[in-house]
């Protein structure tokens, strides 16, 4: 019996499902999240899963948030505890006054509960076993039965859930009816035996609007389709594999020649990451738009080729879905920890363009744009997602495309151009002063425009040379090209606090939704912060201006060493003392609570420490 008042909240709570990997719970849990969306209430779900095939714990968290907060909140209001292995940890994570839902077929001893939570027992195994004889059916339908019970407990409209099941099993009447039956089994049992609804409830609203619900990896893959990628070479690695798989799926639906049925794309699963990026570079050299998707360990393997792409100036796109490193690290946990590794990938002096989308909609836009940028700049472009965006569904604005948009193929000299009187073709000539030379595709002209691509030093006409001055001239042009890139990549977005402030915060990528919420929490504590979301490297000049305009700027990121902060300091020659790192790196998504506490505490500390005041 709870001694604490049970939490009472409408359309604002966190449900977490604790399951066993391989138990088939994923589709039921996702159905739960989608059902709430159909009530017009925003949700923010997250998969928390182990790096193994079967048997270990897995969690699925659904944040129900009428206010539209899409970052992780932290804490659990209702725990659906289906995994005995993690029972103690799961029970401990429930907020005071929260709820514990469990399979009460074999009741747990009271010592396994907490006095400050409400325990809801449903004999799931008994209900399942009395209905189904097939072991697989028992396993799968148990998940739908607990979904049915939750419908009653949270006051979900069963018709909306049935509608979703109908969409999922369209044309498969047997599956549809059996799932609906299981749903009602659970709902009816709960209505007859429990006090329904509990304090946590879902009421119909209109806060979802036109937004769509999509994973970042799928959106990025769709961006590659719209951006004109025709060659994809990849090697499976978590959490990036679903990019290539989604690209394959999208291409099968959208990219076949209607007359012949033949594919207007080529997808190769390479033997490793080295081959994958080699295929991408070969295809791009030959004028196709090509990309690979990988994660940190893949980037490590690709760095030799990345250096070649930089120095030989071959366009290419790498979608890096970051996970916790170093080495194998935590393969299924999220981080933003490849910033430095990608910005300066490969030996020698290199700099690469990085794009940081905040959500699936931007992943789509930036993915499509990355192919224009790669060809325009003739260099490698990194689309920097992470597991939190890539492998979770997010609510985001609908994807948009301008049908008038043409692909920017960059500076490509055609046979006609080569034949123009007085035209001089030198592969590495800086004709326009922007550091970007012209290239030709192989096979363009019988006698003009051919050149030898190599990773060794060469002159402006692509002739092998180890002359120091020629090498330095080339390296300086590459710097010029990188400066040109500053105005081509997505600019940072800035928002000022309601009141003038001496403090700012810089953040990027998947931190965005948590930051949006954290700003409100900080304001409620009296802290005003101007903010800037960085969307690309090289940094636009406004980044340095923003820092110059504030006494202190917090840099919020999800890695141990403050990699974005390092990059800002390094590239803008800024005094590091003025950039305060706010770092979160345990592999879970950063939360608004964490950001607000870390910045709030620092701000409070500033107010009481004379030395800090003196510095400011």
């Amino acid at each position: 019996m709870s001694v604490q008042s049970p939490i009472s909240s409408v359309n604002d709570f966190v449900v977490r499902f604790a399951n066993v990997n391989g138990s088939g719970s994923a589709s039921a849990n996702e159905l739960f999240a989608r059902s709430i969306l159909r009530h017009g209430v925003p949700v923010s779900p997250r998969n928390i899963f182990p790096s193994n095939i079967q048997g270990l714990p897995t969690w699925y968290e659904v944040r129900v948030t009428e206010a539209g907060h899409l970052g992780a909140r932290g804490g659990v209001d209702l725990m659906v505890a289906m995994n005995p292995q993690t029972w103690d940890k799961d029970v401990a994570s429930i907020e005071p006054g929260g709820y514990l839902f469990y399979d009460s077929t074999k009741p747990m001893p009271t010592s396994k509960f907490r006095s400050d939570i409400t325990v809801i027992g449903v004999p799931l195994t008994a209900i399942t076993n009395s209905t189904y004889t097939d072991p697989r059916q028992r396993q799968l339908f148990k998940n739908i039965i607990y979904l049915g019970a939750l419908c009653a407990l949270l006051d979900l409209d069963p018709k909306l859930v049935e509608q979703l099941i109908g969409e999922q099993y369209k044309g498969k009447e047997k599956l549809l009816s059996s799932n609906v039956h299981a749903l009602h089994l659970g709902r009816d049992w709960a209505l007859q035996n429990l006090k329904c609804p509990i304090g946590l409830q879902v009421k119909k609203s209109d806060k979802v609007g036109e937004r769509i619900f999509i994973e970042g990896n799928s959106a990025a893959a769709l961006g590659a389709v719209y951006g004109g990628a025709t060659v994809c070479a990849w090697y499976p690695i978590t959490p990036s594999s679903s990019v290539a798989e989604a690209f394959t799926s999208h291409c099968k639906k959208l990219r076949h020649d209607p007359a012949t049925g033949k594919a207007k794309y080529a997808i190769v699963q390479g033997e490793d990451e080295l081959a994958s990026i080699g295929i991408v570079i070969g295809a791009s050299w030959n004028g196709a738009r090509a990309f690979t998707a990988t994660s940190g360990p893949g980037i490590s393997l690709m760095t030799e080729f990345i250096g070649l792409s930089y120095f030989a100036e071959i366009p290419a796109v790498i979608m890096n879905i970051q996970r916790a490193g170093p080495s194998t690290g935590m393969p299924t946990r999220t981080q933003q920890c490849d910033i430095i590794a990608c910005a300066y990938a490969s030996h020698g002096d290199t700099k690469h363009v990085l794009l940081f989308p905040e959500d699936p909609a931007e992943a789509f836009e930036f993915a499509a744009q990355s192919f224009d940028l790669a060809e325009r700049l003739q260099t490698m472009i990194f689309l920097m997602l992470d597991l939190d965006i890539g492998m979770n569904h997010r609510l985001c604005r609908p994807l948009k495309w301008d049908d008038a948009r043409q692909y920017d193929r960059g500076k490509v000299m055609t046979a006609e151009m080569l034949d123009e009187p007085g035209r001089d073709f030198g592969r590495y000539l800086d004709v326009d002063g922007d550091g970007i030379p012209y290239r030709t595709y192989p096979g363009t002209h019988p006698t003009k425009g051919s050149f030898f691509t190599r990773g060794t030093s060469r002159d402006r006409y692509a002739r092998y040379s180890e002359e120091g001055a020629i090498y330095a001239d080339n390296m300086q042009r590459l710097v010029r090209k990188f400066e040109t890139a500053q105005d081509m990549v997505p600019r940072p977005l800035q928002a000022n606090a309601a009141k003038p402030t001496k403090y700012g915060v810089i953040y990027f990528g998947s931190t965005s939704p948590a930051m949006d919420e954290a700003i409100g929490l900080l304001e409620s504590r009296g802290h005003q912060l101007d903010r800037m979301r960085i969307r690309a490297f090289p940094f636009h000049s406004s980044v340095a201006s923003f820092i110059a305009d504030h006494d202190f700027v917090y840099v919020v990121e999800q890695n141990r060493d403050g990699q974005l902060r390092q990059l800002i300091v390094n590239e803008n020659d800024i005094d590091p003392v003025r950039l305060v790192p706010i770092l979160h790196y345990d592999g879970t998504p950063i939360t608004a609570r964490f950001i607000a506490n870390a910045i709030g505490d620092h701000q409070d500390h500033l107010k009481v420490t004379p030395l800090r005041k003196a510095v400011s």
């Binding site: 004109g228 025709t230 295809a283 004028g287 196709a288 609908p398 006698t447 040379s465």
Partner: protein, 351 residues
């Protein structure tokens, strides 16, 4: 690799091929390899083969890795695009290039260090993927650029120039190519131009993964008494399984096949290969027999040369992927982008 261009002057009386090109049109820059290097002989054979086939030089993409062999694409087909990639990764770059534009001819040039060591995986996988290419390994069993270390194709028991005995087993790239499903497999000797030129020509005409291992003695580091890749050793142990002529579709001939005479092989593109069978029992269409034949003669210390296997019905990677006939690199937004209407439908499905 060199920056020394050959003079452009051509003698007006030079013979021309069907397209009006002379041998000079197929040449590249001046070689900087050691005088007498077998690789230069292979370069000459490539030039000869392309001339005889009347290939437009600029329609060839020549791709290599790193090493002495990988420098050679600079010395032939000067009007072609070349790509000197990174050590051992020529096959992946070539595969990508081929996917981008199926209409060019892809010539991959590699070495034994490049293909049998660091690039062994890429060699294997490009073969098993049936990339339409001519993959030539200029095989001298030694690392020339780094002055004489054994490569993975050096025979066990052979000696380096410094007298060190190789105790590791050799990788036979021909045997591996056969096992992996290459649809055209040959071995030759850089000093046997009459055999090598038609082999290269046939490989270029072949649609699929064509592999030629060319024993190419390193004049500086592997042409001594203890080497099994020296000129003298290979000449003494060379056992030619057949002689090859390439007959183009423009001049068809009908040949009665009989042991000891000629076997005509119809290729995918209609080109015909005429195998002059020295060994009456040798069947170049039998992969299993070729593997056995190779191993049997290797055990005797013989270097089998010639066309060991060809599949006249071979398919390439584009056929396996069922890609459009139009080169992918020429497709534009109107061909590739599904448009806003399709995106609206996708949006609707995600609500």
């Amino acid at each position: 690799m060199t920056y020394i261009a050959k003079p452009k002057f051509q003698h007006p009386g030079l013979p021309k091929n069907d397209l009006g090109y002379t041998h000079r049109d197929y040449e590249g820059k001046v070689s900087t390899l050691c005088a007498g290097c077998g690789h230069d002989s292979i370069t000459a054979s490539i030039i000869e083969a392309c001339y005889e086939l009347s290939i437009e030089p600029h329609r060839v993409a020549k791709i290599s890795g790193i090493g002495c062999s990988s420098k050679t694409p600079d010395y032939f087909l000067g009007n072609s695009h070349g790509f000197n990639s990174v050590h051992g990764r020529m096959p992946s770059v070539l595969t990508g290039a081929n996917l981008a534009n199926r209409d060019l001819i892809y010539l991959g040039v590699s070495g034994d260090g490049d293909s049998a060591s660091i690039g062994f995986g890429q060699f294997a996988h490009s073969i098993r993927r049936a990339v339409n290419m001519t993959y030539i390994v200029e095989n001298n069993g030694v690392y020339g650029l780094t002055k004489g270390q054994f490569s993975a194709t050096a025979d066990r028991g052979s000696k380096s120039k410094k007298g060190v005995m190789n105790t590791d087993n050799a990788i036979d790239l021909v045997a591996i190519a056969l096992q992996l499903g290459a649809s055209f497999v040959a071995r030759s000797f850089s000093g046997d131009k009459s055999q090598l030129v038609p082999l290269i020509a046939a490989a270029i005409r072949h649609r699929g993964a064509a592999f030629i291992d060319v024993i190419s003695p390193c004049i500086a580091f592997n042409n001594h008494a203890g080497s099994t890749k020296s000129f003298d050793y290979v000449r003494e142990h060379n056992d030619a399984v057949n002689r090859l002529d390439v007959l183009t579709g423009r001049d068809p001939i009908t040949v009665e096949y009989a042991p000891g005479t000629v076997q005509v092989v119809e290729q995918h593109d209609g080109t015909r290969l005429a195998l002059r069978k020295i060994d009456a029992d040798y069947d170049a269409n039998d992969r299993l027999a070729a593997m056995t034949f190779l191993q049997k003669h290797a055990a005797k210390g013989q270097v089998v040369t010639g066309l060991l296997y060809v599949d006249p019905d071979a398919e390439d990677l584009h056929a396996h992927l069922d890609t459009v006939e139009t080169p992918l690199n020429t497709l534009e937004a109107k061909d590739l982008c599904p448009g806003s209407a399709a995106l609206e439908k996708i949006n609707a499905s995600l609500r």
